[in-house]
């Protein structure tokens, strides 16, 4: 389901990549991970600068979702090192919860809290983790909901919203914690085609506003227009890394040419 020509992006300026100053915001050094005997991440080295939009693409089973999930330690790693803002990723406990509060995550299956209203979904973490007062959290929550265009649904339950609306609420829920970086794990893969663009629009706006984003996606249109850098993964390895132009026009590896050939023919 690639949408090269029907992209929601108009005039996105790709300036962030040029502003790499100081240490990277997210850095992975020699990361390895196994699921049993399966070597799912092979010596991954990657760094993401502040304000950069990094898109990870690759065939299913290539380890791109796992990579995304290791960055807030929803998956542990077997060796190597992950640094966020220069600090190594903590193991467990208070330090880890504090770190997770600063790393937003948007899931393929939305994962809104089913028993809570839309507004409660957005205000829960600021209230419980940051200790924000209810009134303040709700004021900001409504602002965020209106930013993603679902403020009129605030008192409904997640099940009453469409997939696209739910995913936009999930983005608002992450933003409510003012994260330093946001991870998107195939955010549009579970959506009906006509709802994909409304979510991509929100993501493109976030990118324009300078949010640091790591996006696992199959949306090549988004990758071309909003990414500063594209990483191509296959079989647990990073095979290519470059600007969208470089990657889409002149893929160097056979694997990437094969992959692009298969998805771009339609």
């Amino acid at each position: 389901m690639t949408s090269l020509d029907s992209t929601p992006v108009e005039n996105l300026t790709k300036s962030a990549a040029g502003q790499e100053t100081g240490s990277p915001l997210v850095e992975l050094r020699h990361v390895d991970k196994y699921f049993g005997d399966l070597h799912v991440l092979k010596d991954i080295n990657l760094s993401v600068a502040k304000g950069e939009v990094l898109v990870i693409i690759g065939p299913s089973g290539s380890g791109k979702s796992t990579l995304c999930r290791t960055i807030n330690r929803l998956e542990s790693i077997d060796s190597g090192e992950i640094l966020i803002d220069g600090q190594p990723l903590p193991q467990e406990g208070k330090k880890l919860t504090k770190l997770r509060a600063e790393v937003g995550m948007v899931f393929q299956s939305f994962n809104l809290f089913s028993h809570k209203t839309i507004l409660d979904n957005v205000t829960l973490a600021p209230r419980k983790v940051r200790g924000t007062f209810k009134a303040d959290a709700e004021k900001e929550g409504l602002e965020l909901l209106s930013r993603v265009g679902v403020d009129t649904q605030a008192s409904k339950l997640p099940v009453q919203l469409s997939g696209g609306q739910q995913q936009r609420v999930a983005i608002a829920r992450s933003l409510a914690m003012h994260p330093k970086v946001m991870l998107f794990d195939e955010p549009t893969s579970a959506l009906d085609p006509e709802m994909i663009n409304e979510v991509l629009d929100v993501m493109v706006n976030l990118a324009k506003e300078g949010m640091t984003m790591i996006v696992v996606t199959h949306e090549m249109g988004f990758a071309r227009q909003a990414a500063n850098r594209v990483v191509f993964m296959a079989d647990g390895e990073i095979l290519e890394e470059g600007t969208p132009e470089e990657f889409f026009e002149h893929p160097t590896s056979e694997r990437a040419r094969d992959f692009l050939g298969k998805i771009l023919t339609h």
Binding site: E92, T97, R100, M105, N111, A125, K128, V129, S174
Partner: protein, 225 residues
């Protein structure tokens, strides 16, 4: 008919059922508290707590209630000299409540665990990714949904608890219904069938509404996904 009127006027049958209801309500409260603690331990990231909780559940789930009740009186009270009150009746009532609560907590824990299995993994992942710690995600996200998914098994557990409250006779609670039934049968050998039916139907009348309420609540509270 005269037999029935005599039985009801000579014995405090309603009062005996009230004792069972009291035993049930107190035990339901305490076993619910203990069961929530146990299930929280079972899903906690601390392995020793998980091991303790599953050990507790296996032990009490597989032990006959009668043995627990007898142990409460002969062991806890008789040998260890632990008593709730100097008044014998009050003391035995609370010993029986303690025994019932310890036993039922294992089943409450198992019911809630089946409820937790209805909560998709993504819910706790979302909670963790927002920075909620274990206690916060358990109390805000997982347990509230688990309770809604566990209404039916919890209802069954409490129905079993009400019936099990008759085992309090083994803990010397002489005022409860099965003890009274034994006394009545001894005194009125000519009316055994009538006495049996009174108590049998008494429980049926008490339990049917609980079953209906459970089914209704189970549908009403179900989390829509």
């Amino acid at each position: 008919m005269n037999v029935l009127i005599n039985l009801f006027s000579n014995y405090n049958i309603v009062g005996a059922f009230v004792v069972n209801i009291e035993l049930t309500l107190w035990s339901a409260l305490f076993s619910l508290i203990l069961g929530v603690l146990l299930v929280t331990m079972r899903i906690s990231p601390v392995s020793s707590l998980r091991a303790f909780a599953s050990g507790y559940v296996e032990l009490f789930k597989n032990m006959p209630l009668t043995i627990i009740m007898v142990f409460m009186v002969l062991g806890v009270f008789g040998q260890l000299k632990f008593q709730f009150s100097n008044n014998f009746d009050t003391n035995f009532f609370w010993l029986a409540t303690a025994g019932l609560s310890l036993y039922t907590a294992a089943f409450v824990c198992e019911s809630l665990r089946s409820g937790i299995n209805t909560v998709p993994l993504g819910q706790s992942e979302a909670a963790r990714s927002l920075g909620l710690n274990f206690v916060q995600s358990a109390s805000q996200i997982i347990l509230p949904q688990a309770f809604r998914g566990a209404v039916a098994p919890l209802g069954n557990t409490f129905i079993a608890l009400l019936k099990n409250s008759t085992v309090a006779a083994a803990a010397s609670v002489a005022t409860e219904s099965s003890s009274l039934m034994s006394t009545m049968i001894e005194d009125n050998a000519n009316a055994i069938i009538a006495i049996f039916l009174i108590f049998a139907f008494g429980y049926v009348i008490l339990i049917i509404p609980i079953g209906l309420l459970t089914t209704w609540l189970s549908n009403k509270l179900a989390v829509r996904r």
